[in-house]
């Protein structure tokens, strides 16, 4: 864990317009995330967990405020630039894995590499490494529907890390899995954090899952009300 900041969010406001009502999710949120932390975010439904995750991943924008990633403001980047930024820096892991059903495991993992100028050999090597890391080398040729939920989530993790991003964003990654499988997945994430220095931000409902993180945040009504480790968050 270094002391460098990965994210610095300043005075974030986020409002939705639903019908005639304007709903405020965040009103002046400030948070920093240091490189190499494993952050878990908990909180009731509607507290803004997923919105925050989406803003960190550059798929959503704040109404106002600044999101600095390694000192660079990303909230005003164009769609195309944001897409490139995501391809370079971010890996997503979803609750329902979101694999392409018509592609087998290795092709699913290869997907983000299509956005980089890599030779076929380089791509194959990266895919192999990623699948090996999540322990699915022997399932490379299987289609998603031929894999269990846990295996599918491992493929999704492999896909998220294959292009070696700095940041992994996980939205309820164990929400659809049984306890044993969930633990395996969380251990894998922990490994990625400890051994490979990936910064991980994970949204979850599950306190057990949250305990795998080294920083636990609790989000309620757009504010963090509890901070377990002041070292990572200011």
């Amino acid at each position: 864990m270094s002391n460098e900041l990965l994210f610095d969010l300043k005075n974030i406001e986020k409002r939705f317009v639903r019908g005639r009502e304007s709903i405020s999710i965040f009103d002046g949120l400030n948070i920093t995330i240091k490189k190499g932390t494993f952050v878990s975010i908990m909180g009731p439904s509607g507290s803004g967990k997923t919105t925050l995750l989406n803003m960190l991943g550059g798929v959503d924008r704040p109404t106002s405020g600044e999101i600095l990633f390694e000192g660079q403001a990303i909230q005003n980047l164009g769609e195309g630039e944001l897409a490139k930024w995501r391809a370079r820096h971010v890996g997503f892991i979803f609750q329902f894995y979101n694999l392409m059903p018509m592609l087998n495991a290795e092709k699913n993992v290869e997907l983000p590499l299509l956005l980089k100028n890599l030779s076929k050999a380089q791509r194959n090597k990266s895919v192999e490494t990623a699948l090996k890391l999540v322990g699915l080398s022997d399932r490379a040729r299987h289609l998603p529907k031929e894999l269990s939920g846990g295996q599918q989530q491992r493929v999704a993790i492999a896909r998220a890390i294959v292009s070696d991003p700095d940041l992994l964003l996980c939205d309820e990654p164990t929400g659809d899995l049984d306890r044993t499988t969930a633990t395996e997945i969380l251990e894998t994430l922990q490994l990625l954090n400890k051994e490979f220095g990936k910064t991980i931000v994970m949204v979850t409902h599950d306190p057990v899952a949250a305990s795998f993180a080294n920083v636990s945040l609790h989000l309620d009504k757009g504010q963090f009300i509890e901070q377990q480790s002041s070292e990572a968050v200011a």
Partner: protein
């Protein structure tokens, strides 16, 4: 794997839907190719006509005769290059349904006007010498398997000989070959003189007068001069370009081109609806996947291009199969349609316009889904689960 793999996998994920769409497109382009070839066959007379060739016919109607003396009078006109004449014989071979288009022509001047077909020099010489000689077009030679030297009976459903029979025997002197393969050669040529002397009515009337001008720009001037020369005579004339003449003749059957185009458009529109709806459906079903692609860092433009590529691929797959099928079926029916539509071939212009239509189909069916995919709101799409 590359981007194309992804497009291909997307296209083939629902095999049943792919098959149904491909089949619908296949049908549309089969019809397009086959009907296009038929339309072209009807238009062939117009399109392949020489631009400096005029036809003079009786003003009453082209079935009414003209005096032979007109030929020499027309020769003297300024701007006229070559003149010849011809009579309709109304020929058939053995049975009236085996039509054999036969013209009684002047051997000396015919090929001066019709210089887009060629006859071997020796064969032409032989024909000129043999009063009972007949030249047969290459298409007829191929279709019936006739050779130079064969003796064939040709009957007329209009004329008869002095002995009451209406069948003439001819010796095949040579084969008329086209310079352009699409040029129609499904006719035969006999001696005008021999025909007039042996048929019962005799006389020196002729059916029509084909002529060429020194220069296509003189066409209008020459045709006006011809018609003026014979104005107020018992046989007034009407001179038009070969193309106009052929066009008017085809129009007599009705607006075939319009009917064919309407059917093709109806088929095309149907397929547009079906495939467009299906593409739209399949993109709708893939909403969350597209959202995932976007979170992975695929740009909106890339997603747009991939969906459009998919619809192009689908159109090309079914369309090329359909055009191929049309080509095969046209080839299969050609022997049967020789006598009705001699110029029936699936020419490259049908193929090219077919490819164009494939592109249009791909574009129209893909553009809306591609647009939707591009504009897809990632957050909403992901939260819809």
């Amino acid at each position: 794997m590359n981007n194309f793999t992804l497009v291909r996998k997307n296209l083939t994920r629902n095999k049943l839907r792919l098959f149904l769409n491909c089949f619908a497109i296949f049908i549309a382009f089969l019809l397009f190719g086959a009907l296009g070839a038929i339309k072209n066959a009807f238009d062939a007379g117009v399109e392949l006509s020489a631009d400096d060739r005029l036809v003079t016919v009786n003003k009453i109607n082209f079935t009414q005769p003209l005096p032979l003396a007109y030929v020499n009078k027309i020769r003297t006109l300024e701007g006229v290059k070559d003149v010849t004449w011809a009579n309709w014989f109304g020929g058939y071979y053995q049975e009236p349904k085996n039509q054999l288009m036969t013209f009684a022509v002047d051997p000396e001047s015919y090929f001066e006007v019709y210089d887009d077909v060629v006859v071997d020099e020796q064969e032409l010489e032989n024909w000129k010498k043999d009063r009972q000689g007949i030249l047969i077009g290459e298409r007829i030679a191929n279709a019936r398997g006739w050779k130079v030297g064969d003796r064939i009976p040709v009957s007329s459903n209009i004329f008869s000989k002095h002995d009451g029979s209406s069948t003439w025997d001819f010796n095949i002197s040579g084969i008329v070959r086209p310079e352009n393969p699409q040029t129609d050669t499904s006719y035969t040529l006999i001696h005008y003189k021999y025909f007039m002397e042996t048929q019962i009515w005799g006389g020196d009337w002729i059916g029509w007068i084909p002529l060429t001008t020194q220069n296509p720009e003189l066409n209008e001037e020459v045709s006006r001069a011809v018609d003026k020369m014979f104005a107020n005579s018992p046989a007034e004339t009407e001179t038009s370009t070969e193309a106009q003449f052929s066009k008017a003749f085809v129009e007599q059957m009705g607006d075939i081109g319009f009917i064919i185009m309407s059917v093709v458009m109806a088929a095309f529109f149907t397929i547009l609806l079906i495939v467009g709806n299906s593409m739209w459906q399949s993109i709708k079903e893939r909403t969350s996947e597209i959202a995932v692609l976007k979170t992975l860092g695929f740009t909106a433009e890339k997603v747009f291009a991939m969906v459009l590529a998919e619809s192009f691929l689908l159109a090309a797959l079914g369309g090329i199969l359909g055009l191929g099928g049309a080509w095969l079926s046209i080839k299969a029916i050609t022997p049967m349609t020789q006598s009705i539509l001699p110029a029936l071939v699936l020419g490259h212009q049908v193929f090219i316009s077919g490819l164009m239509f494939i592109a249009i189909l791909g574009f129209v069916t893909g553009i809306v889904p591609a647009w939707q995919a591009m504009k897809l709101n990632t957050i909403e799409a992901l939260s819809r689960r």
